[in-house]
Each structure stands twice: as C-alpha cells, then as structure tokens.
C-alpha cells in the first residue's frame, strides 16, 4: 500500500506492506535517525511523534501512518540551528553513543510541548520508556532541565 503522510512538515508518500513496521519504512526512505534497539517496544530508540504523540515506530504498522503527521529526529532542528533540547543534550553530556538519543530527544520534546515546566518525577515518567546504556540517565535528566531553562 501507499500511505499519505506528512513527514517533518513535507508531504511524503510511504510505500510498503500495511503491516510493515513504520521503523523499517522510515529508514528505507532515508530517515535513518530512527534507530532500532529492541524491536519490541521496550527501549524507545525508534520513537517518533505521530500527530504529536510519542510512539514506538517498531510497533506501528504502516497502515497506522495513513494521513498522519510524523516527526522524526531529522525534523526537530530547523535549517540552521539545533533545537534547544538537542543543544542541551550536547551541553550536558546527555548523548554518548547516540543510539538512544533520537528517542530521548523526541520523548523530551513530547513532554515539554505539554508540560514546559515539569517536575523531576514527570521527567522520569516521560522518559521511562527510553533506555540508555551509557549515561546512567542523570546527564539526560540534566539535559532536559537545561532545555526547560533555555525554552523558558
């Protein structure tokens, strides 16, 4: 099937089996910022925003992307400048090997777009579905609070 979707603000048809993982279709279409970690919805490395909501693209069949507006990590920065969340991850050491980073940034983005001034517990809950094996998380939490400060 061919689904009509808007990816990072541009109308982009996606082609594949309706049960194909959105993860695979996006990567085959060049959006390789979408990472595969566990492939079973535990790690969040493949997270994207679908109509503004965080979803794991490994658990999303292509059929569910029909008519949807999708944001991948490639759509978070603008042409000339990283997003404040990305700058904060750089600044605070929130990114190390980088595999979890796209999902972490998008999970933080989904949180801050609804709760611009989150509590520590809200940040932890919002990122609970995103696993990182490098940082021990503390620098990631610090990155999110730095982004809160920059976006205020």
């Amino acid at each position: 099937m061919i689904v009509n979707s808007i990816i990072n603000g541009r109308r982009t048809p996606l082609e594949g089996h309706p049960m194909a993982r959105l993860l695979d279709v996006l990567r085959a279409s060049g959006f390789t910022g979408v990472k595969e970690g566990c492939g079973e919805g535990e790690c969040g490395a493949c997270a994207v925003l679908v109509d503004g909501a965080l979803v794991n693209s490994c658990l999303t069949p292509l059929a569910h992307a029909d008519g949807a507006s999708i944001t991948t990590i490639e759509g978070v920065a603008n042409q000339t400048r990283l997003h404040a969340i990305q700058e904060s991850f750089l600044e605070c050491g929130g990114a190390q090997c980088g595999i979890c980073t796209p999902g972490m940034v998008l999970a933080a983005h989904a949180l801050l777009s609804r709760h611009p001034d989150p509590t520590d517990d809200e940040v932890r809950a919002a990122l609970a579905g995103n696993l990182c094996r490098c940082t021990g998380y503390m620098r990631i939490f610090a990155s999110v609070f730095e982004a809160v400060r920059r976006l205020a």
Partner: protein, 293 residues
C-alpha cells in the same frame, strides 16, 4: 525485519464494515493499537492470515458517563486517554494508576484497553482493576451485541468468552455510589492498587493487587479483591472477600482473609519470579490493603 508473506491487514472504514469483514472471514483477527501483536509478529510467532485494522472504528473510542452514574470506556480508548479522563480520575482512580503502570508513554499512546483485555495476559495490570470495579463487557458482532460480566470472560490461560467475528466494543463500569444510599454523592469506596515488578517503571508484574472496600460503621459492608500474575488468568479473590465481608477489620478477620487468599491463588515459578515469592507478596499486599482502612 519481519517477513510478511501470508499476512493481510485490511482497514474497514467503519465499525459496521469491520464487523461485516470479520463475519465474512471467521479466521480473521482484530488489530487495534498493535503494541502486543507487532511484538509477536517481530518474534515470528504471529499466525499468518487476515487481520482487521480497527483504526477507523470511531464508535469504539472514548469515555462516557452513563445516566445511572456509571461509565463506559470504548475498547479502542488508549491508556493515555484513560490517564487523562477526568471522570476516571474522580471515581475510578485505580484505572488511571494502572494505565500509568502499563509500559512507557509511547506504549500508552497506542495501546488500547480492549486490546489489553483481548491479549488475555495473566500479568496485565488493568484487568485486576476492572474486576474490582465489577466491570462488564459489551461484545459486538454482525449479529448483535451481548453483555457479559468481566468475572466470567477469562476462562483459562488465553481462553476467553469471545466468539469468531466478535469484538470487545466497550467496558461498562457501574456507579460507585453507595447502593443503599445512592443520593449521597460521596464515593464510599476506598481503593488500593499496587503493582510489584522488578523495577519501578517498564516492568511486567510479579504480582499486581487491586482492592476496594466499603465500611458500614465498624464492619466491612462490601469488599472486592483481584490479582494479576498469580493464576492462569487475572482472578477475583472471592474467598478472601468472603472472609472480610460483614466483619470488623480485626486481626482474626484479616488472618482468615490471608489464609483464604493464599489457598485461592496458584502462582508459578517463571522467569520473572517464583511461586513462593508471589504467594508471600500477595498476602503482604492484602495486609497493606486492609491496614489502609
């Protein structure tokens, strides 16, 4: 990347079309949020065949109050929607707590309550709450709708009272007002919910406990208790309830309830925990539940 030869995923435009498709293809299976089925697909264990995507069955979504003070929750209502529904937070708060315990945000955004019920995991975190809230299910097919009590729905490990061509349409929760004084707007029930897993987040339960209790002066007017991960299905602990009902919450009643609970469950050793640990924790949770009153 899964091999998809032999799989079909069709998207009917409405509930009526979906039911017609399921009636015409008795082997077809419904497909809701995908958070369970896509995992099984990736693991190579999803049977090939026809799957019916329910994404356009708008009739199956949303939370609504009923005229008699109850609530209906459409089967396609997501865990995120359940977490944010004001009516649920006000009167059925354990449902919101259970939804918040179900996977991470990304799973809660896609996973549906109907899908969670139909996945029939004995370790699911919401079904014990539905049991203590005395839920019913509306099951819909091309030939009509029938209502079944949720206590009778799970018949064995992954066995459900669900016929070919039938979908879970909605969950119905009865009013939480005092049945002997329904004009009093105060919810007389006290709820207790606790999931015990390996970690605080993103862990499948070792034991999950939901309880609700209503006192009449010094004695227990009514009580309902349910558990997950201690039997082939989620279960109501009816013998433990019986040991408490009509009695004061004294040490004797609690000890009787503990004994009834321990003999009414059948936990197993598996990769997540042991039968011994689960039995012990189930009793400890019962003790914490009654101590909170």
């Amino acid at each position: 990347m899964p091999v998809l030869d032999g799989y079909e995923l069709v998207t009917p435009g409405s509930l009526g079309e979906a039911l017609a498709d399921l009636a015409a293809h008795p082997q077809a299976r419904p497909f809701a949020g995908g958070t369970d089925l896509m995992v099984v697909l990736e693991a190579g264990h999803l049977p090939p065949g026809r799957y019916v995507n329910l994404a356009k069955c708008a009739e199956l979504s949303g939370v609504a109050s009923t005229p008699d003070g109850g609530l209906t929750i459409g089967a396609l209502t997501t865990y995120t929607e359940i977490r944010h529904a004001p009516a649920i937070a006000a009167r059925w708060s354990m449902l919101g707590l259970a939804a918040a315990e179900t996977g991470g945000i990304a799973t809660q955004n896609r996973g549906t309550i109907g899908g969670n019920i139909a996945n029939a995991s004995p370790a699911a975190d919401t079904p014990p709450v539905l049991l203590v809230y005395d839920a019913s299910l509306d099951l819909v097919s091309a030939s009509g709708t029938r209502r079944v009590p949720y206590t009778a729905f799970h018949r064995g490990y992954k066995q459900m009272d669900l016929r070919p061509g039938e979908l879970i349409a909605r969950v119905i929760l009865p009013s939480r007002l005092n049945p002997s004084n329904p004009s009093n707007p105060v919810n007389p029930w006290r709820d207790y919910y606790r999931k015990v897993g390996t970690r605080r987040a993103q862990a499948i339960s070792k034991v999950c406990f939901a309880g609700t209790l209503r006192m009449d002066g010094p004695t227990v007017a009514d009580v309902r208790i349910a558990l997950g991960s201690v039997a082939p299905t989620v279960i109501r602990a009816t013998a433990a309830e019986q040991a408490l009902r009509g009695r004061a919450l004294d040490a004797g009643a609690v000890a009787d309830a503990e004994r009834a609970l321990a003999s009414g469950i059948a936990p197993i050793d598996d990769m997540r925990s042991t039968a011994r640990y689960r039995s012990r924790v189930a009793v400890n949770l019962l003790r914490e539940f009654v101590a909170a009153h």
